[in-house]
Symmetry: D2
Subunit: 337 residues, 4 copies
């Protein structure tokens, strides 16, 4: 059950409202959205007389029962959708925000050259992998902390906010200067990590696992939001199917359903989904058309020499051309890019 | 191996060229495309000296080795893409052709009302199921031959060419007045049916099976084209995955790859893929953006009372609105709608 | 709803019972099983007072409501399981019946040599493909009618009943001397073919489609049984998954569930599921242990030279050894082999 | 490349052999197996003259090139298979070791009652979840450290070695008294956790992820073994497919392939795979028949009241009966139980 509060209710009254429920044995999630604030009740709400509360409690505007298992991320809590601001970038409805950068940060020069170029092309957020989850223990594992430092330099030089993938909760402190913490597909159900990033005051980019359902993705987001962090960006990045001509199958229907079911922003990652460069541009346009709030696209200044995933990376010129194409289409969709 | 012929070669010379190869033990496929004609050799071409033939044979413009298993449907045979004309409709590159109509033809009034309306909205081809493949023997199996007759009436009244699904090769004669014969997903590897429609002189709409790879779809198309019918329209309609929130998972990456690998037109069917009405519009826009040559969309004058698949059918007003949205986007993609 | 009839009820009384229901608008399926006969009602049975009928109708022993969509194949109709007799072979509970032979019949000598050998090893039924469904139009398509003739010769020579795959309903007459008609995985939802084999008076071996659910398999069997043919053998042969080290994934859980839900015999085909010779023996033992009523195993007198699927075929010695191992285990499972 | 060493080589000579390779830029993995010891070279071994080394180096018995990506877990390293001893239990070829216990430890009484009973029935290792990975943040998350303490009590009382699931590497110290550390399906590619358990001197039970290939499972095991811990037990526990009648699809073919490709023991978990009690016994027998080295089976003294996964748990009597059935079959397979 969620109660949407009236505007401008003093904080004490909200605190009182919350503590009253908690004394009755419910858990609560306090959620400040773009348009209003809400309080979710978690527990056995079957016997709560919602209408009575709406009529008698002066701070409550209206209430809704939430039958889905995901409560705090439910669209009902913030019908208007959540807008996330990070540095100069905005992610959420009305915007189409492109995150770009290399699979792996390789050197200061590499990341800065890419950062300047993708910024010029219109990317709003810089991505760069420092810790790389690799199937083989013998494969390049990323530049690690050094990679994060290079990313910080690129951020300083270009002003772009940065996102990088965290591998586990012991690394939280290393990500202090990283604007958005990415939880990768393999960690989507690493629940301790979800709780840890739920305690942060910064946005989390949560990728769908390769074999995880839409509902499981929402439940993982619920871990983060119920731990106190409302700033979650969901990311569809392809699922495992029997098809072998693409690395994974980008599930654009999932983008639509996620937007319908949740107030959180949803982006797509066509680079990892397809694993093939020539699919990135068409899938990017499709993601925009289907209603995604943005994209995460891998770029490299020299894809042929990339230490990781070069086959799916656009070069800087290709990325520039794609961005020009996307801008025309974002205008049609009435989205700011 | 494919030989692209020079323009305006007399038919006798081509016949001679073909019979020479067949005497050497090769099979040949003669393929008249929009831009040129081609002859594919099937057999052990490893020892054929292609360059020598190109240099010495006056009717040959150039040749290409085809390493893929699919030969006659290979992009190499008609780099410019195949354009299929059916009545007033055109399907192929440069066009975005929408096929619409009910899952099942239910009555003369129903199909005619829908036909008039979707035509007004911009649909170029009318669909209507007469023989319905149903999982349960106790479910409505379609109006059968009567349904085909109703479809013919709607065609006569509106001038729209019509498409309907064939269940097996014994029905070929029943489809004489049907402009496009649809081979459904469950029949994608019904090879005798493929050979039978390969003998027709009319377009075939070939749907991808629920568990069939992109390559298998191309091989099934190869059955039709190698039997002599070059007019095949491929249709992505969703594949089976672990996700349960949608009926199937629309694989838009497949559209891109099919367009890259084959010269045949490719359309998408978002209605059957999603199984949910609210996904049809966003997936339609995404299919256009990704590069599909058209769509197949289920519409009904009264979806709540549809005998079949009502939950995924748009009503006529919803379809009209979607078509308006698509027209704006087709203009951006420089496609005629 | 199913009514189990008393033993030794005169046929006229049963006919009367059935026609009474049909006059009330129900469809009926009359099912003669190993232990009793039953009449299934199809239609809106919600308002039928079952208890009243059981108490007042002298020919009825007891009744059961069937909530599943599959009625005539439901376990409730024949709790004891259906036993199918074909020539000297028996398929059903209490037996473990091995079908063996080549993927494709290649010559009279080949099929007869294999037939003699697998019979000596303990196989009870001979398989041999005459019409082969092949992904590529350029691949060997089987010996066709000639193949069926060779199979008949092997049957005559060894006395083994034979099974071969039918491709479509126009071939029904060709299968007159074939003891068991196989409907292949690609045809599992070829509903016209299912109806056609439902009109036969001989057993049908129905294979699960590569992307079909257990419930869909039962519904396809329902097509056959509701058309009047109770002699259906279900066959699990692997499903499509993301795993690529095996051709398909043999779903032995499906065998258990099929046995629980339906009275029909269930066998497994490890050869096609795995696609690798070295997996056939362990998967065969596992299928026996899990409760399958038999196996279909591909064998060849010279696998290295097989025209089709040699990589998964056992040679005759390997098959013999496997049969010896299976006999020991069948004794433990108290199954006659 | 792997070098199998002669028996009884002094440790200094081995150390010298290893350090020589490392000075040449190779990584090495020193692997002490049941039958011999081996040294794996990781790196560009293409130019290493293996035959020369075998002929000239007195400590080397023979060498093998390993073309697969997984080196240290490769069957080539220990053709005879690895045997793992933990307390009184043995896991590996020649044995069929059953691990049993509740999904979640709930109380001292519960775990001790179950422990005594499953020990009497023949289980050799006790399982009990303390930290439970749950899709919903609102679901019971396990008894945590208290649960581990209860497990220690049960171990003390019965003498059974115990296994429990670790959630992340910060918990390593908590598992000091736990005999086998389980890495769950969701953590199969939590590479930091794999490295951490690779530094332990105790067995690790590594479960296959729901969407992970057999090769990825071997690569994850490679993370652990290459970090120095050779005691890895692989566990097949079902994969995600389109089928919905079972929770997951138990892939018994994977057991066979894992045994062929790797020297590590392989067990199966039918409880989690099926999610249905009535499938546990038949799948257990099938796993034994297919060649698994053991099972992990969930049991509960009162499944109807279990805090977690009651629907798939056997009660203690059911488990006892299953064990009796398994013992008969293990004797046939010549495995000690």
């Amino acid at each position: 059950m969620v109660f949407i509060l009236n505007p401008n209710v003093p904080k004490e009254k909200i605190d009182k409202f919350i503590s009253d429920w908690e004394q009755k044995g419910f858990s609560t999630i306090y959620s400040v959205g773009t348009e209003h604030t809400a309080v979710c009740l978690i527990g056995n709400t079957a016997e709560v007389d919602m209408d009575h509360i709406v009529q008698t409690n002066e701070i409550v505007s209206y209430g809704k029962r939430i039958t889905e298992q995901y409560k705090a991320v439910n669209r009902s809590v913030h019908e208007g959708g959540t807008i996330i601001r990070v540095g100069s970038a905005v992610v959420g409805e009305g915007y189409f925000t492109v995150i770009s950068g290399p699979c792996s940060v390789e050197s200061k020069e590499q990341i800065c050259e890419i950062a300047r170029s993708v910024k010029d092309s219109g990317a709003k957020i810089l991505r760069g992998g420092a810790f790389k989850p690799r199937t083989s223990p013998y494969a390049f594992q990323g530049k690690q902390e050094e990679g994060l430092e290079m990313l910080r330099i690129a951020k300083k030089e270009t002003g772009l906010p940065v996102v990088s993938e965290i591998m586990n909760q012991t690394q939280i402190d290393l990500f202090e200067d990283i604007d958005i913490v990415q939880v990768g597909a393999r960690n989507m159900q690493n629940f301790d990590l979800l709780k840890a990033v739920g305690a942060l005051k910064k946005p989390v980019l949560l990728k769908r696992g390769l074999a995880n359902t839409i509902e499981e993705l929402l439940m993982s987001a619920e871990y983060i939001v119920s731990a106190g962090n409302n700033q979650v960006i969901l990311c569809e990045r392809g699922i495992r199917t029997f098809e072998t001509m693409t690395r994974n199958t980008l599930d654009l229907s999932a983008v639509v359903i996620l937007k319908q079911k949740s107030h959180l922003p949803v982006i797509a990652d066509p680079s990892h989904a397809a694993g093939i460069r020539s699919l990135v541009a068409p899938l990017s346009k499709a993601a925009l058309a289907v209603g995604a709030d943005g994209l995460m696209i891998e770029t490299h200044n020299d894809p042929a020499k990339a230490l990781c995933d070069g086959a799916q990376s656009l070069d800087l010129k290709q990325f520039h051309n794609l961005m020009e194409e996307l801008k025309i289409r974002a205008a049609v969709e009435k989205k700011e890019m």
